[in-house]
Amino acid sequence: MIYRETGQFKASYAADQAIFRLVEDRIGMGAILFLAFVVMPLVGSQYWLETIMLPFLIYSLAAIGLNLLTGYAGQLSLGTGGFMACGAFSAYKLATAFPDLHVLLVLVLAGSITAAVGILFGLPSLRIKGFYLAVATLAAQFFLLWLFNRVPWFTNYSSSGVISAPPLAIFGDIWVTGFEATPVAKYLFTLSLVSILALAAKNMTRLKIGRAWMAIRDMDIAAEIIGIRPMTTKLSAFAISSFYCGIAGALWAFVYTGAVEALAFEINVSFRVLFMIIIGGLGTICGSFMGAAFIVLLPIFLNNTLLALGLAEAVALASHLEAMIMGALIIFFLIVEPHGLARLWQILKEKLRRWPFPY
């Protein structure tokens, strides 16, 4: 009985309403934050910080965004890439048009613009549902990319259509974008932002708006009948989800790669993020992180293992094997636990709670 709730009584509704209701959970979370904020920047190599942690965090953010929409509000979307592109390009336009704008403001504004675009593309969801909607959201994906690719204004008339992030500082000369930014600065900046946004998402999902989303997801008719407006609820889901995806896209372009063309946000990105939330667990915030970790780390891990196994000569074979293993693992995880890694974790905790008794 290592992990249990016996003996932990909640004296108030506030305590019962807390995100982590058990002391053990709070300690665990504290440890993770400590690792992320203190240990990682100290011991992480540049490779780790820049090419593993950054994409992991940014993808997590996008995954949270999509999870709000798909996992909580039940609106399956394949337009994530488009929304991320929207964030990236609006951030670029903002940062170049107003060079003095603070980086946080740039991100928030870019997110808001994306939210507006999200609402626009969310309108069909009022009538269209399920896979029909999913395919319809591809319209957003393709149209937005086309727009950014085609209209030179978005790239400040760059001949190639590539945008590259101007250097921006969080304060003083602590740069978070551009080539003067150190990996640690980029990492901590992204980490803080992602943590705050994740917390905000968690709060939303456990309060009124989150309940409204879930109600719409689980049974829209009943939800409507108890007075939840489908329109505002669905559109708010699209807006907030796009806000998150927009910020993720902006971070991707500005902090991670530094220069992107619209194609960087092609359909595969949408699929990837979708993978993350499904592997991680639909309708859980921590699942978004787990899923992102899985999808970002797995190929790198596989690739490195295959190389270590002496398959270095046959790069193509390694890539093909990687795809196969990746596919097989996705299926494997779905079979083991269709509700994702987050649920797996929960079951584990459940078992721990009952341990040493089987039931």
């Binding site: 090419t51 086309w146 690719n149 001949s159 190639s160 590539v162 080539f179 063309e261």
Partner: protein
Amino acid sequence: QEKVQFIPSLVYRTGPYGPNGEPFANGVADYYNLVNERDGGINGVRIMFEECDTQYNNDKGVECYERLKNKGPTGAAIFSPLSTGITYALIERALADKIPIFSMGYGRTDAAYGRVFPHVFTVPASYWSQATSIIQYIGAQEGGMDKLKGKKIALVYHDSAYGKEPITTLQKLKDMFGYELSLFAVAHPGLEQKATWLEIGRRLRPNWVVMWGWGVMNSTAIKEAAAVGYPMERFIGNWWSGSENDVKPAGDAAIGYKSANFHGAGADWPVHRDIFTYLYDKGKGAGQRDRVGEVLYNRGIANAVIVTEAIRTAQAMYGARPLTGWEVRDGFEKLDLTAERLKELGLEGFMQPIKVTCEDHEGGGPVYIQQWDGKKWQRISDWIPPMRDVVWPMMVESATAYAKEKGIALRDCPQG
């Protein structure tokens, strides 16, 4: 202890463009192996190279870069990102890491301006230069540049950073020579071009079609062009639209199709003989024997030759030892690949001499036009040098604008 120079190799053998990445990667691998097997390395420093599969995908490219940049005793000597998108993503990083980037025939064109981009090399020619060469060829076919006036030229391009590169140049030339230019974007990956070709072949009927295509887009374009009866002789691809992979799937329809190229096609150079003797005969070849000498394979060789020669030049400055990236850069900036040296390398006439300067990292190399006869690529023109007077000022202007946007101070270059 053995002296080794680490050269990373970003390749794409899989993914939508895998079929094209494969021969290129094989050419590079074979040449490095040849240098090791035949010469025992570059002046005794063996080449250690490692491939990383980017799948032509930007994130993967960045990940590969970060993974490989610190390998070997002195870190990566140089990166060839092998994709315009990846090049863009690496330019800043590589500068911070002090590693040169060699984007041969792709990438950011204005990066040829060495005063702004000290670490990027785009020899022997950029897309902008190539565009001027192609237009000159068309001019010659029409009987003189002045005959271009009123002619219709269509550009069919891959709708990406890569495909858009020649547009400004072609527009500039349009103003100079008075032809009409129509633009046709084809969305990645380019499976569906019927509408484009109906418009071109049945309504617009331009005098010439120029193509900036890549991968499956090329063969599809050729097939669709044939289906609307557009004459292949008037259809010219750039150097990424002129490999065996582009014409073979189209079958006989492709006979007569033309493309630009900046190096030889075929396996008839001494270097190929060496590759057969030292590698394929011993079972050490990277690919299939009968595909040695394909256009993209040879391009891999060209890439590897320029890299090894740059390293050799750098070794002349710093000694025959493993060099850091920045030392390689210094050598690259002094690279002078003369006709004699090419002959020594067994590549006489394979490509034109290359000379890099502090200011000019491109060199404005010439291209020639080749034509597919159903079996082989036949060379059908002389080397056509670009219109440097047009292109170079454009590059300088664009690079300077970039420097301003990024707050980069222009580097001084010794004149002369």
